[in-house]
């Protein structure tokens, strides 16, 4: 089953197995259906599988877009993230492509995944800080990376400057980007206040 590039199903449903509610039986049902209908999502089952695939792709895209990385003086890029689906390795590979000379550590689901400069991924069952300490003990400090602590201030100033007040359209902003991605501290605040959902945290 192949599709031309740029089409949404991407041929086989290659990412659907990473969905948190992946249903093997549904997948098997779809595989038995007429490929002509499946390839154009013209059955309810293929549509459902396609939506699951889309959900994984969307999650990956959002994390690529909105995950902010910190830079350690030892050449490690690190971040904490909550992942809806099983996409940790894809995220690491994306950032490895972008920053091949850096180690990248991402904490999610009570573990830390690390990709090194050769592209090898390792999993650590310890906190992010402990993992960073472990990695930093093997890497020399890089003077060129000092002074990167005020990036958040730079970003705030820049973000404010880009807003055109005459064109304010909060509805559009909310549609494009959920609140939790707009406020960099929102997830941490949610955890600190033990809120179960973003609506509990948001002011009226």
């Amino acid at each position: 089953m192949t599709r031309r590039s740029g089409w949404t199903c991407g041929g086989v449903f290659d990412l659907v197995g990473r969905h948190k509610n992946y249903d093997r039986r549904l997948h098997e049902v779809v595989l038995k259906q007429d490929p002509r209908l499946v390839v154009n999502c013209a059955t309810a089952e293929s549509r459902r599988l396609y939506e699951m695939q889309r959900s994984v792709m969307r999650c990956l895209h959002l994390k690529k877009s909105f995950l902010r990385l910190n830079v350690s003086e030892h050449g490690i890029l690190y971040a904490r993230v909550e992942l809806e689906h099983d996409i940790g390795d894809l995220l690491l590979r994306h950032f490895h492509q972008r920053f091949p000379t850096f180690h990248i550590a991402i904490e999610h689901d009570r573990r830390v995944d690390v990709i090194d400069t050769t592209g090898r991924i390792t999993h650590h069952k310890m906190s992010l800080q402990e993992t960073l300490n472990l990695l930093e003990s093997t890497l020399p400090p890089n003077p060129a990376l000092s002074g990167l602590h005020y990036t958040e201030d730079l970003w705030s100033e820049y973000f404010e400057s880009q807003n055109i007040r005459e064109r304010r359209n909060l509805q559009l902003q909310r549609r494009m980007m959920p609140q939790k991605y707009r406020d960099p501290d929102a997830i941490e605040t949610l955890k600190a206040k033990k809120c179960r959902s973003i609506t509990e945290y948001l002011p009226d």
């Binding site: 059955t43 902010r68 972008r98 990036t151 730079l154 100033e157 807003n163 707009r182």
Partner: protein
């Protein structure tokens, strides 16, 4: 002025450039580098006006000797001037890029006396990024009106995309908003040079809509000419907004719906291959009527509901609620011997039935109602 203030002032001065595309098909190789380009483009945030922030969009300086009447940076406007030194700008940008806040750099500038001197400083900044910081990510370089050809060629070598803004659809319209800039020699001539150069993401341009009382027809004709003759990848439209302390501050702003309609038509010209002249039929006094241009066009050109199982690709594209993807899916199904027999099937394919119902027939049946025919 400290660095944070410069970020604020020069970011604010550059925010009116609407191009936010960050996709490039340039191949990035090797591992001794920072950054790469994405073919799909990535947005890293959205401002309160709902617009995407993908690039670090800034001016090198806002100290301008040009006199564009709509612009807050023009020589007429008393303003706080600020300028980056190339190393400062490179440092700020690398901070943001490493933190995954931005996808690339959009470097523009006011013209500080001489366009060549300003362009040289812009080039110095990008060269610093490419050579010293080993940055291999996306760079959009704004060409200033009147820049020397050799400098443009240098910019083309180190950038993913170049652009020079038309600002107005014709020589006479530009003369209304600027006494200094010459439409043909300062802008069109430079576009021709850029067209001859090999740039990974080509060139784009932008027009300010409504600043010189031009009609939609004039704007669309200019855009069509640009696509045909200058190979521009995109024409961007920015609705005129009166700004404080500018000569046009008392002029009425352009409604954003007008800008939206121009983008609608522009998309149909580029993606559906609908010739610009067809839109003349739906225009009133050379302007697009209120409402969705695609529905207006469908009402003007379709004889009646189109049969979903016999209409060709281009007929399907003209039906509101059917885009290039869903039209291609319908054609693919037909070529494989499968006919569309129900509305739910169309829904699964991705057709927006609410918009399409009035204009389609499925197995000889129509679902249209008078309410659905309204815009």
């Amino acid at each position: 002025m400290n660095l944070l203030e410069k970020v604020k002032v020069l970011g604010d001065a550059g925010k009116w450039d609407t191009c936010a595309s960050s996709s490039s098909r340039r191949q990035v190789s090797g591992t001794d580098r920072i950054g790469n380009v994405a073919a799909g483009g990535i947005c890293h945030s959205f401002t309160e006006n709902g617009r995407c922030i993908s690039l670090f969009k800034t001016l090198l300086t806002n100290d301008c000797s040009f006199d564009c009447k709509y612009c807050q940076n023009s020589i007429h406007c008393g303003k706080h001037t600020a300028s980056y030194e190339p190393h400062e700008l490179a440092k700020v940008f690398m901070h943001l890029y490493m933190g995954n806040y931005v996808e690339g750099l959009f470097l523009s500038s006011a013209v500080e006396g001489d366009p060549d001197r300003t362009t040289q400083k812009m080039l110095e900044t990008v060269q610093l990024l490419r050579q010293q910081h080993k940055f291999q990510g996306y760079v959009h370089f704004k060409i200033l009106p009147g820049t020397d050809k050799a400098l443009i060629a240098q910019a083309a070598e180190i950038s993913d995309r170049l652009s020079i803004n038309l600002e107005a659809p014709s020589r006479s319209r530009l003369a209304q908003i600027s006494d200094i800039k010459d439409f043909d020699s300062d802008i069109i001539k430079r576009q021709k040079w850029i067209k001859e150069m090999k740039i990974p993401s080509g060139q784009t341009t932008q027009m300010v809509v409504g600043s010189s009382d031009e009609s939609d027809l004039e704007i669309l004709k200019a855009a069509d000419w640009e696509y045909e003759n200058m190979d521009v990848r995109r024409v961007y439209y920015s609705a005129f907004t009166p700004l404080h302390k500018t000569p046009l501050e008392d002029k009425k702003g352009t409604p954003y719906q007008r800008e939206h309609r121009l983008y609608n038509v522009d998309f149909m010209m580029r993606k559906y291959d609908i010739p610009m002249d067809e839109f003349r039929e739906i225009m009133e006094d050379d302007n697009l009527p209120p409402g969705d241009p695609k529905i207006h066009l469908a009402r003007a050109t379709l004889d009646g509901p189109a049969d979903i199982n016999t209409a060709d690709y281009h007929e399907l594209l003209r039906i509101p609620g059917i885009g290039p993807q869903s039209a291609q899916r319908i054609i693919d199904l037909r070529q494989q011997g499968t006919q569309v027999t129900s509305r739910s099937q169309l829904n699964s394919i991705g057709v927006v039935l609410k918009r399409a119902d009035t204009f389609i027939k499925i197995m000889g049946r129509t679902q249209g109602t008078l309410g659905a025919y309204c815009i």
